[in-house]
Amino acid sequence: MVGAGLAGQRAALEAIRSGLDVGILSKLHPLRSHSGAAQGGINAALGPQDSVKDHVYDTVKGSDYLADQDAVEILCREAGPTVIEMEHFGTIFNRAPDGSLDRRAFGGASYSRTIFAADRTGLALLQALYEEISRETRVRIYEEWDAIRLVSRGGRVHGVVALDRKTGTVEGFAAKSVVVATGPAGRIYARTTNSHASTGDGGALAYRAGAYLKDMEFVQFHPTALPGSGILITEGARGEGGILRNKNGERFMERYAPHVKDLASRDVVSRAIATEVAEGRGFPDGTCHLELMHLGREKVETKLQEIVGFCRNFAGIDPVTEPIPVYPAQHYMMGGIHTNPRGETNLAGLYAAGEAACVSVHGANRLGANSLLETLVYGKIAGANAAEFARKTTAGELTPEDVSTAEKELHALWERREGEPPARLRNDLQSTMEADVGIYRTPEQLEAARRKLGEIRTRYASCYVEDKSTVYNVNLTDAIELGHMLDLAEVIVAGALARTESRGAHVRRDFPRRDDANWMKHTMALWSPQGPVLSYLPVTVTEYAPKERVY
């Protein structure tokens, strides 16, 4: 297993319980995985009026009809049992007065179907799953080991090469099967709600090993994040009556969504804020303002406690007396390593799950609280199938050369005496993606991004790691991660340039409409020395033919 967030641990648990020995590589301690940052909750149609069918429909509609409906059916069917299982593992969920699991409402859902644990659902799930893994003896967790290469030959994966952060040692791990669950890649963008470790490593490693990346151009932006840090201000703020204003004091959402105004869906509000700023109606720091002052101290401090904490602690702003500057930030990657509903990639023995993977259940736009669910449902499926494959196959053939080649590449980077620091290259990558591959896309900007990424790639060839220590060298891992982000950024741009329609999170100014006749298909990208090679895969439709998406 590469990755120990919810997806990686759930896959591991399944493989262990099927009687296999499992090794988990994780660059962070499992409990420090980004899954722990999820606040809102996890969807399961457990309410009295709700049904699996409704959950499927909402998800397909939310996806702008790009999700594979067979995969969505599995997701929603398994949701109830998954949540109950997590409860039995010890998750401390919020309860209704009668003791049953409490539910809250979330955007895009027809019923209240989001099960939650205060404002720390991800942490609660991560704790319980780690507790469950801690009970097992057939597992070894390699904490703070970075996978730096996936070894494949003859269409099959043979293992992983990894770097031990604490000692700088590089080692090979031969494996019969490998599950990649390395989580988000938000750090490709300058503004993101994701953690610093969210650098899309697994996607890049699988891509280089010959796996398909799917639908990478679909990048979800959350409308309200703090401008400097990208820390998320939840929808709850607008739910409680928060109002967005531009620098002229105008409540601009009245123009974009006359009926629901500030409560419009994520993508609509993100586009509105971006437009206001682009057309010169933003504040000098390039933001719009979210006002809560009119709600009164008591309401703000009791109902929006967590937001108050974030603003005071991380931005030095008191939302009781001042407006909160906000701007949309990258939030979620719908795309990822292509898998089928069994978690299989196109390489034998290679599986993927969680945010690093793309089954696809989110299509062109993910609904809130569906991705925690995906990590667990498809983590389990990938783990079970990886175990089955391992049981039937011969040992992975990892040669000493596999390890030494990876090691040599690493050392070449490490021992270089001069060049550009990774931090500067990373900043350039992030600002390019932010400026040119953001919420609205034009062919000119995308072409410009492609050119700039090409330049950054050339400069990356002389990237200089100043830190020569073997002990916990973050300068070195920064440089490695930068290479991964660069690969994924190129695929995002290529997919976005090719897709001449607007669907879900992908909005082209020159093609503002969805085009089902030509584009109801997944973008598939394969690595080549000249850059990504694109092909397309039809979407699986079972019950719901595409309709216009109106809320």
Partner: protein
């Protein structure tokens, strides 16, 4: 924007130093942001652990002007104003690997030693296909401990860890509490038995863990809760709890501490023999251990004890029995709580 000097601990054991970096940054800047700025713009060889930058992953605990804190949650301003500089050091009680990164092995070992997972209760299996029942009272027991992000700030701040390698430490004990109050867990008795002899009574009650916890888990209070529960469930089996109980009854009797009696009741006669040298030493330093004369104002003392004995106070954090769930084997008795 003030210019803020950072004195940062650098190097590995055997070769350490402090480097000074100056940054012009707004006062609300989190210390983590400042350190990352140093890394990106001044010295890329500075190393530290970090990930979420929003106080949820628990990676970035370190000592800031001597206090164990999350770097991402602590703004530079207040500390700078109080001390004129920011001294940044790795956490204490854990071996330094390099710069601000420590070896967390011992911390995690303690975590794993408490059996941090639900132990099934054969008499009360969890319901098939639905959630386990839980009353609001039972849910209320989980108020603080699920907030823990395992950042080890408490572990770094704890003087008992520093002085006694056997002490489980605030985080592991708070985690233990989380399982002890869980109605789904079947090892209530064994869990308390496991810590009663050792760890519980090594806590010095200095409250530094409470002060350093970024998530308000208040570990010292959880340890106190565990002591109470252990006394209720197991009785005063060993020195620590006997001492606490006898201390309370001893003062109730005479109004002043009768050390001789306390030692006899806590240690037993044989145990006391071992304390003779200490007694002689005490006497030599003029410390009297004779019986005290009766005190004045007994009524006030009695009134205090009456208050303490109020049933609602005795029910301080009992384990709440519920439907299909095993409760404590005894009702809270009248024995005084931890003194």
């Amino acid at each position: 924007m003030p210019t803020i000097p950072f004195e940062v601990f650098r190097g590995s054991p055997g070769q350490t130093r402090f480097d000074t970096f100056s940054l012009d940054i707004p006062e609300h800047t989190p210390i983590l942001t400042a350190l990352l700025k140093i890394r990106d713009e001044i010295d890329p060889t500075l190393t530290l652990r970090y990930s979420c930058r929003q106080a949820i992953c628990g990676s970035c605990a370190m000592r800031i002007n001597g206090k164990s804190r999350l770097a991402c949650l602590t703004p530079v301003g207040p500390e700078f104003r109080a001390r004129g500089k920011l001294r940044i050091e790795p956490m204490a009680n854990q071996p330094v690997l390099r710069d601000l990164v420590v070896d967390q092995g011992p911390f995690w070992q303690r975590y794993h030693s408490i059996r941090p997972y639900l132990v099934p209760d054969p008499q009360h299996p969890l319901p098939v296909g639905k959630e386990s029942p839980m009353t609001p009272e039972q849910v209320a027991q989980f108020q603080e401990t699920p907030r823990c992000i395992a950042c080890a700030s408490c572990y770094s701040a704890c003087p008992a860890i520093a002085s006694d390698g056997d002490f489980l430490g605030p985080m592991a004990l708070a985690k233990l509490f989380r399982f002890v109050v869980d109605p789904r867990d079947g090892a209530f008795h064994e869990r308390l038995l496991g810590v009663q002899n050792q760890s519980l009574w090594l806590c010095l009650r200095c409250n530094l863990c409470v002060e350093s916890c970024p998530k308000d888990v208040r570990p010292a209070e959880r340890i106190h809760d565990l002591k109470w529960m252990a006394n209720q469930e197991l009785g005063a089996l060993e020195r620590g709890s006997r001492h606490a109980i006898k201390f309370a009854s001893n003062i109730r009797e005479g109004g002043l501490l009768n050390e001789m009696k306390l030692a006899r009741e806590t240690l037993g006669l044989v145990g006391m023999l071992g304390q003779i040298p200490k007694g002689i030493e005490l006497a030599r330093h003029g410390k009297s251990i004779r019986k005290h004369p009766p005190i004045q104002g007994r009524e006030e003392l009695d009134a205090i004890y009456r208050e303490l004995d109020r049933p609602e106070d005795l029910q301080h954090r009992p384990r709440v029995p519920g439907q299909g769930v095993k409760g404590p084997t005894q009702q809270p008795s009248k024995a005084g709580g931890a003194a």
